[in-house]
Symmetry: C2
Subunit: 231 residues, 2 copies
């Protein structure tokens, strides 16, 4: 039996910076499932063509292929019901979808405008060209414009974190009294930033920063021990 995760990497194969792959890595660790992570680059579509699509994470678990972080989380929960739960009930599974949607619609674009140029600097030549072209098309502007004036923009970003902040003032984890997939969804965005950029996203006294530090320590420091910047 083998378990392999195709995991987005930079020019340095140790640099693992996909927020979606981090959701999956933390979920696997939560369930106590060992996995071999294989570095994969944006332009290596051929290597994951067997999954029927061109994005990571792709999990190959004893021959079964699952892609898309949300689908992988549901699949892990169903396949390994005796392991610690990612959602802790049907309510958690439903509500995690909202947290996933907020992260995709609000948090990721916010982080993106602060760190995209730092990502670019971490890629090999072929990926650099692909990344610039695909993202400039998506954003409708140059990456330099997308990331302009980040010192001012980070203030707006921090305001947008208010729902997180209020929650983490009331309880230690987004999942409640213990971390679960809700935490992994949101943490992926911070680990994305940490893995490529020295830019400071959070004030030191922000409850979100204290939570991020707890997340970095989880599962024997899995995220903290991976190549990245001090935060």
């Amino acid at each position: 039996m083998s378990r392999i995760l195709y995991d987005l990497a930079g020019a340095d194969p140790a640099r693992r910076f996909s927020p979606f792959c981090w959701r999956t890595r933390m979920a696997l660790a939560h369930k106590g499932l060992e996995v071999e992570t294989v570095p994969w680059r944006f332009t290596e579509k051929d290597r994951i063509a067997f999954s029927g699509q061109g994005l990571v994470p792709v999990l190959v678990d004893d021959g079964r292929v699952v892609s898309d972080s949300w689908a992988i989380a549901l699949w892990l929960e169903e396949t390994y019901p005796d392991r610690p739960s990612l959602f802790e009930g049907a309510g958690g599974m439903g509500m995690a979808r909202f947290i996933n949607s907020w992260t995709d619609a609000v948090l990721h674009p916010g982080v993106s405008r602060l760190i995209i140029l730092d990502i670019l600097a971490c890629l090999g030549p072929e990926d650099t060209a692909y990344f610039r072209a695909s993202r400039e098309q998506r954003f409708g502007m140059s990456l330099e414009q997308w990331c302009a004036d980040r010192e001012a923009r980070v203030q707006t970003f921090r305001k947008d974190l208010q729902p997180l902040r209020i929650t983490l003032r009331a309880q230690p984890w987004l999942g409640g009294q213990a971390p679960n997939y809700a935490d992994y969804i949101v943490f992926g965005a911070f680990q994305w930033a940490r893995s490529v950029s020295p830019f400071r996203l959070l004030e030191a006294d922000d409850p979100v920063a204290a939570w991020r530090a707890r997340m970095l320590d989880l599962h024997s420091g899995l995220a903290r021990s991976t190549l990245g910047h001090e935060v």
Copy 2:
């Protein structure tokens, strides 16, 4: 045994417009618990002084007094464990706190800037004076400034609903395959608007509007049958 909910009302006692009270009313209905709702006005602090604070909802359940919508939801879940669950597990209880925080930090301010002047028109003279003074102090501007240009502002409001929209494209309820307290938290904001204002918050083809219609039908049309505007 009696169960009484002090419920914010306008000059017309049938106009029940507190988003927080609506969270509680829907939660009580979810658990199949009958309740007598008592109309209460902003300036009747004396009538709920027994609760040790001055805001509604205040629930008096067989002599036990509980205030604050979140505290009431937790208390109902603990006190009536054999009734349908509001959170469906520990994960749901944890994650509902994030949805509660998003609603308080993003959704309520957004709705407020579209409907505050309509609320004012629903109040008796004493409450009108109280409401204007307290809200103008909170917002740091006149209510007319706070609500200026709502035709333009509603476009931003609709963009801010994107996390809801993405979620409701993927599943019928915020709670997942069935409604739960996550739905009641968010719905309170829409029922708040509906109960005082004819202003159109949503486009007809918005998945959020279809969900709102399902919410209005829940529990024998509890919310739809209460005094309000067509939406």
